[in-house]
Amino acid sequence: MIALGQDEIAKYPFLADAGQYLKDKGFTLEQFGTDPDLKQLVEKAFNRIEVAADGKIYQSDLIADQASNQAALPREVFSFLLAIVLLKLSGMTTLIKRFALAEARRAEKYLEKDLANISDESKKQLAIKIIDDLFSIQVKKQDDFFVIPVSDYLTHSINFHEREWKLINRHVENGLVFLSPHETVRLIRKELGTYINSKIINAKAPPMISSFEEPVNKLIILSKKFSTYTVTTGEYPPCIKHAIKILEKGENLPHSGRFMLATFLLSKGQSIEQISPLFKNAPDYNERVTLYQLNHLAGTSGSGTHYSCPSCEKLKTQSLCFAIPECANIINPLQFGKKRS
């Protein structure tokens, strides 16, 4: 693990071993429930979660990357660790997710600053090391840019849906992608969130302490705010309509198009018997082959793998996408017409 100084633990508290940290500082969890001075920290922890749940980034006491005073430093770390304790006790995964993402964005700001730091080489090296250790991305400095191998870029950028993150919209040279400090760090935001999330999920839940009951109950109430339900219009997306039209006309729909159509309809709950007649008009229709392939996709034969409908991105690549304004903000045809409320 990376060796961290005091102020670095405050910036990246998720890198510390929580139990060990408390022990090193000479505290037990119970003390936080009873000691009036320490109780404040529980409130601070609750506040840290509340801010995160609201989609905002917790404003820390760190000023210009340094603690304003020596006492502020452990407070920063304690409030993070206590927040995890409260979240574990509440068991609310939606809150844990939101908290992890907010904490990732908070750390992202520090990482970005450290990367861009010209005066302190050690800070930059630490940021580069964190990125390498946690996410196996080898970042190197080249002129004013940070460069990473194209393959590393792809494994991370693939989760972004904004077009500016497509490789084609990046400066690529000699197997490397050129990024600004901001972009380098932005690239790992989601993984940083996932990393913090998994650290919290894998942490052991401590036994309940009576004075934690109140904030934990408040968290449970808070999490209810984030439950959603969805309404569907039931209309097919344009890619599916287009595929059906092609088949109705007796024209050839490429294999990838047939795959999309079949997996889409299977996911919508249609049976193989309902779907197979759609392919009757295809120039190379063969009933036996069609049934075999549909069974294969549904996972009722072969390896048992249930195939899912390709993403919009993939369909674009395969020239099967015919997006209309209603397609905005969806990443898979199955989401078409669904409205969250």
Partner: protein, 373 residues
């Protein structure tokens, strides 16, 4: 296909395999590869392990396959079902096919065979005889098709080397045995990336999904100085060459681009993908479990060999990939267009009985245009 045609093709293929073991080798890391084959008029047999050249040659002699395949992927257990194989990595592969290049010449040598009445005619939407729309398209590629495919290979190689850092000697180009080329990339940083990442890589190579901002154009107050220039590496430089044409025109064209506005710029980019993007089949590259035609094996769509191209610029598939015998065979053939094999021109034939060398007979029977007389 009729029994005696299949028998003839099998005999010809068997003879080829027997006489040309020197051309057919297992790829390296053989134990980690999945092999597969197809027989004439039969389904695919796959999930096979092969240990060396000898075992491969034995399989060819025993089964006389119409097509032989080998995975670009490496597995822990290549002979187990797909989800138990234990995928490790895969060579990067590309398929460039003349049929995907929208070439003008295609209409002159694409033949339709009606699935209902077997009528053969030059490409049409409906059968000339029975009006059915169930047509099977057969193409007899010409020199232009091959030259255009070669051009795409050279575009692809440039992007691989200059942008993606691939070493030139890690790029191996093969004639596919029918209408295009297969390109393999070995030992690259991309060996371990998955299907979605490869799909993203294909968009890069095909110049798909570019946004105006990448090339300096903004919705509001675009800045002249942020437009690309000739000396830039990667797409910036290629954009410059194609859009500005010459250094002297650069300034004038940037002014035009700015006047025409953002959405017109987006259209320009979309049109550019056809010109500067390499036209590869994205489905092949993104497939990490594919079994891909084995180099040295015959392609049952033509009877030609999938063969390594030492020098692609000089390579002529219709002399260098045709290895079957000269012995004359009598066939009945409908082939309304000419084609060239081993420097000899054949056709057009209109439902007639002709005597042609074995390699030409196999070619036409494989294309389902002929049958033994």
């Amino acid at each position: 296909m009729q029994e005696n045609d299949i028998k003839f093709l099998e005999d010809s293929f068997k003879k080829y395999y027997f006489e040309h073991f020197d051309l057919i080798h297992v790829p390296n890391r053989t134990f980690e590869r999945e092999f597969g084959f197809q027989k004439f008029n039969s389904g695919m047999t796959r999930h096979i392990s092969i240990k060396d050249d000898k075992e491969l040659h034995l399989l060819l002699m025993r089964n006389i396959p119409s097509d032989v395949y080998c995975s670009n992927g490496y597995y822990s257990f290549p002979n187990l079902p797909m989800n138990e194989k234990g995928w490790k990595e895969a060579d990067l592969i590309f398929d460039i096919d003349a049929k995907d290049l929208n070439l003008e010449c295609r209409k002159n040598h694409t033949i339709s065979k009606c699935n209902e009445c077997n009528e053969i005619s030059i490409s049409n939407i409906n059968c000339a005889k029975c009006n059915s729309t169930k047509l099977e398209k057969k193409s007899l590629p010409c020199k232009n098709c091959i030259d255009a495919s070669k051009y795409e290979v050279s575009k692809l190689s440039k992007i691989l080397i200059e942008d993606l850092g691939v070493q030139p000697n890690d790029i191996h180009v093969y004639f596919s045995g029918n209408e295009g080329f297969h390109v393999y990339v070995y030992n690259s940083q991309f060996q371990k990336i998955g299907s979605r990442e490869r799909s993203e890589l294909t968009d890069y190579i095909m110049f798909h999904g570019a946004i105006p901002e990448t090339f300096g154009m903004k919705k509001f107050k675009p800045n002249r100085s942020s437009f690309p220039d000739f000396q830039e590496k990667g797409w910036g430089g290629r954009f410059s060459k194609e859009v500005y044409e010459s250094k002297s025109k650069r300034s004038k064209i940037i002014s035009e681009l700015i006047i025409n506005g953002y959405s017109s710029f987006q259209k320009t980019l979309e049109n550019l993908s056809n010109k500067i993007g390499a036209k590869i089949d994205p489905n092949v590259t993104m497939d990490i479990h594919r079994i891909f035609r084995l180099p040295g094996s015959l392609n049952s769509k033509s009877g030609l060999t999938k063969i390594f191209c030492h020098d692609i610029t000089k390579f002529d598939p219709y002399t260098e990939a045709s290895f079957l015998h000269e012995n004359s065979v009598e066939i009945i053939v409908s082939c309304p267009t000419k084609f060239k094999l081993k420097n000899r021109t054949f056709g057009p034939y209109f439902d007639e009985k002709v005597s042609v060398p074995t390699y030409a007979a196999v070619y036409m029977i494989c294309k389902k245009l002929a049958t033994l007389s």
